[in-house]
């Protein structure tokens, strides 16, 4: 028993001796907390499909940015925020919204493919975009993630009260003077920023592992707003860090480990409440 503890501590210390591992933990930690908090509202509002679409649109943005020689992150941010505002402008009650989003989503992926077609130099870049490459994160990326995360959370904090009101009781919120369309638009812009963060860690195709899994798990467990937000962030953080550790020992891809933990946690809580 004593031996095991010592061994465990030693291996964690060894793991943290590598700078790329320390960077990975830092980057994943920031993105996870932001994703968990923003994702809590995404799940509450039933807008997970819009979040999914935003990440795919981000793919076109990122590959497009690479094509013209910019950092993919800024293409990702620019395209997702613009798309978030666009979807928000369509309004809350547009019928067939899912269809419209689905069509745009497919178009965005297709565009991303076209951009890649003309940018054949770095095929690995595409894989990193789609599935994440947290082990390659450097110091400057961490600084960017901190800045982006701070902006995202400041924006969320600024609109949180009317956002909750508009989410839970749209009719009454409108009557009390909440601009539903503005709030919906601002929120999707915030989601877009969170998607950009999350995509740096788990990749565009797996942002749901951090943005939907943890909040959905948290909502199964607690029903208070603050408790739900906090738990969503904690679960996301735990899954991200634990996922990296599992990847370190097994040599499996990090994104696979995080996605599996996210799904496992969700289905365990779901099964507990299904009766």
């Amino acid at each position: 028993m004593r031996m095991m503890t010592v061994t465990g501590t030693t291996t964690i210390t060894t793991m943290l001796e590598y700078e790329f591992m320390r960077n990975a933990f830092a980057a994943a930690g920031i993105a996870a907390v932001v994703s968990g908090l923003v994702g809590y509202f995404l799940v509450l509002r039933g807008q997970t499909f819009a979040g999914h679409a935003l990440s795919h649109i981000g793919f076109a943005g990122a590959t497009g940015a690479m094509l013209i020689g910019l950092a993919p992150l800024w293409g990702l941010v620019g395209f997702t925020v613009a798309a978030g505002v666009g979807i928000g402008l369509l309004g809350e009650r547009i019928s067939g919204r899912d269809v419209a989003i689905g069509v745009v989503l497919a178009l965005a992926l297709g565009l991303g493919l076209l951009f890649l077609h003309y940018y054949t130099a770095f095929a690995t870049q595409a894989t990193a975009l789609l599935f994440g490459n947290v082990l390659a994160v450097d110091r400057s990326t961490i600084a960017t993630l901190v800045g982006l995360g701070a902006v995202t959370l400041a924006g969320l904090a600024a609109i949180m009260r009317p956002l909750i009101f508009a989410t839970l009781q749209p009719e009454l919120a409108e009557a009390k003077g909440v601009r539903l369309r503005f709030i919906g638009m601002a929120f999707l812009a915030i989601v877009a920023l969170a998607v950009s963060e999350s995509a740096q860690i788990v990749g565009i195709l797996l942002v749901f592992a951090l943005m939907v899994g943890p909040p959905a798990t948290a909502q199964q467990l607690v029903t208070g707003l603050w408790a739900g937000m906090l738990l969503a962030a904690i679960i996301a953080l735990a899954e991200a860090w634990f996922g990296i550790a599992v990847a370190y020992y097994t040599d499996w891809p990090v994104s696979f480990c995080i996605a599996s933990l996210s799904a496992l946690a969700y289905f365990l809580t779901y099964l507990r409440f299904i009766r």
Binding site: L44, G46, A157, A158, I159, M160, R161, P162, I164, F165, T167, L168, Q169, E171, L172, A173, E174, A175, K176, G177, V178, Q219, Q220, T223, G224, L225, G228, I274
Partner: protein, 275 residues
């Protein structure tokens, strides 16, 4: 002083005139039952009073001035047609979202706010709903939460849009009684829309019948008559009085009950269970 005044008001929704050249005045402290067939403009009228729908013609005043969005003196219970959303949020937070919900920033509540919410929940017998998530409560229970919410902050004017929908008969009586007591204690004005006149007969001061673009406001004896209702319903109506009750028939069919049955059909969707 009048609480609500309409002078030659025309209200239109989507290019269709719902209320045409209508004038009436509701005095402060009056309990008004609002009746009429589906689509007669009950909800539209309330939205106009809330300042959400400017009249196409004529002037509408609330407490002596033009209606403005977010008027704190109005308590509003919106008619909710949608299925109870599968929200994993407890009743307390649902209600609390409306407290200063239109202001930006974090949704922080003062101790006084919390006490007020708890007191109002207890007053409508919904204290036990505070800790239960919305996904686990029935349509009737949600209706109780919405009523508590409308009474928050001691409003001077209550706009209750079909508050009796999906409540069982006993609780319908309790709701009417509760609203009456609240209104009497504070000299609050009430617009209470319903499908059946009889339940409200002992409570209301006057009745406002809407239909066919027109409105008739008066005592039950003045308004619930065959000629007035025939014009409003646009069909040949017979009014039968028996035992203090009033039955409104059209070619042998009970008009109000037929409408009500229709709503009950919708109401069942409200008993949406959580998987």
């Amino acid at each position: 002083m009048n609480a609500i005044e309409l002078e030659h008001v025309t209200l239109a929704v989507g290019g269709r005139d719902v209320l045409v050249d209508t004038s009436f005045a509701i005095r402060r402290g009056e309990f008004i039952g609002v009746l009429g067939p589906n689509g007669a403009g009950k909800t539209t009228l309330m939205r106009a009073i809330l300042g959400l729908l400017p009249p196409r013609a004529g002037s509408l005043s609330v407490f002596g001035r033009a209606p403005r969005r977010g008027e704190p003196d109005i308590g509003y219970l919106p008619q909710v047609r949608t299925v109870v959303p599968n929200l994993r949020v407890r009743g307390f937070d649902f209600i609390a979202s409306s407290v200063h919900g239109e202001r930006f920033g974090l949704p922080l509540l003062s101790r006084a706010d919390r006490a007020m919410i708890a007191k109002t929940l207890a007053a409508v017998g919904a204290g036990d709903l505070a800790t239960r998530p919305l996904s686990d409560i029935s349509g009737g229970e949600r209706q109780r939460l919405l009523l508590a919410q409308a009474l928050l902050g001691e409003p001077k004017l209550l706009l209750l849009d079909e508050p009796l929908i999906s409540l069982d008969y006993r609780y319908q009586e309790a709701v009417i009684d509760l609203v009456r007591r609240f209104a009497r204690e504070r000299n609050a004005t009430v617009l209470f829309s319903a499908h059946e006149l009889n339940q409200l007969i002992g409570t209301l001061d006057r009745v406002l019948y809407l239909g066919n673009g027109h409105a008739a406001l008066g005592t039950v004896a003045e308004v619930a008559t065959a000629p007035v209702l025939s014009q409003l319903y646009g069909t040949d109506i017979q009014v039968v009085q028996a035992d203090g009750h009033i039955f409104v028939h059209s070619r042998g069919r009970d008009v109000e009950r037929a409408d009500h049955a229709h709503d009950d059909g919708h109401g069942h969707h409200d008993h949406h269970h959580h998987a």
